[in-house]
Amino acid sequence: MSLTEQQIDRYSRHIILQQVGGLGQEKLLASRVLIVGAGGLGAPAAMYLAAAGVGTIGIVDADKVDLSNLQRQIIHHTDDVGTDKVVSAQAKIRAINPDTQVRTYPQRAVADNIREMIREYDFVIDGTDNFPAKFLVNDACYFEKIPFSHAGILQFDGQLITVVPGESACYRCIFNAPPPANAVPSCSQAGVLGVLAGVIGSLQATEAIKYLLGIGDLLTDTLLTYNALTMTFRKVRLARNPSCRLCGQNPQMTELKDEQQAVCDLKSCKC
């Protein structure tokens, strides 16, 4: 593949970066990223990955755009209320960059369908809003050996970690299983600063691009935490957990299962 005149112009600020260059840009154009959840995290991630020229972006989301989403889910606009999120996201990605092919999955990711979806991609972004989905993305990516970026946000706090399955600590290394019912407020109950989703989702996109280009240091074995009120970033070093049920020395999980939904109503919330 070689870049067209227009592409050289469009991606010129990438191409002049020594760590990217023309070859790196071609790599991005040949890359595929799946975004699970077109919400607060998935929105900025999708937009920056599209602008960066990632060749194929898959979007998984079963929801429609709700007015209460617009405070943080910047890929959806006021006129999109009531539209399927995947349709709304696809239109914006196409408008940002016609080089990017969009594949839409207007469905909920569950144990029965997620492996088939993710195995088509080089990297996965977890932009889901609930714990069973976060464990599902982690477990499915482990079984399919697809690297992914996990993130969570609430109120003024956010955190993310990049997982290279089999090589670095996974979500279950840190959290064995979803929390007990009603123990954690969802965004719709506890609130979230809209721009926080932009910060963390953009960091996820950064990790995806670094992974695709093979540059820099990934947030593997490292949880990056951010507090918007104190403007503090912290890196917490982690290691693989030998007793992890999924990737430890004696794994108890040998097949993909859906965890039970343990939190309250999340219909109106995409964190």
């Binding site: 955190q159 840190i174 123990a183």
Partner: protein, 71 residues
């Protein structure tokens, strides 16, 4: 004794267990927190039996995304 809790030097009474530290630090929902002690994730079942030592490094890691309970 001195501990480093979430990167901050913290003075606590001697012979504190991890479970007790969670209480002292006003973690309202300890079931929402994973604890890393000196670089290793601690099993929840061991919180009450694990006694902290001088200069231990403790990280409270919160479920998030979803959410973190304000502590």
């Amino acid at each position: 004794m001195n501990l480093i809790v979430n990167g901050k030097q913290t003075y606590v009474t001697d012979d504190l267990t991890v479970g007790r530290l969670l209480t002292e630090k006003n973690v309202k929902m300890p079931e929402m927190v994973s604890v890393e002690l000196n670089g290793r994730i601690l099993r929840r079942a061991d919180f009450e039996e694990t006694t902290l030592k001088e200069d231990d490094k403790v990280e409270f890691l919160y479920f998030m995304g979803g959410g973190r309970v304000t502590d």
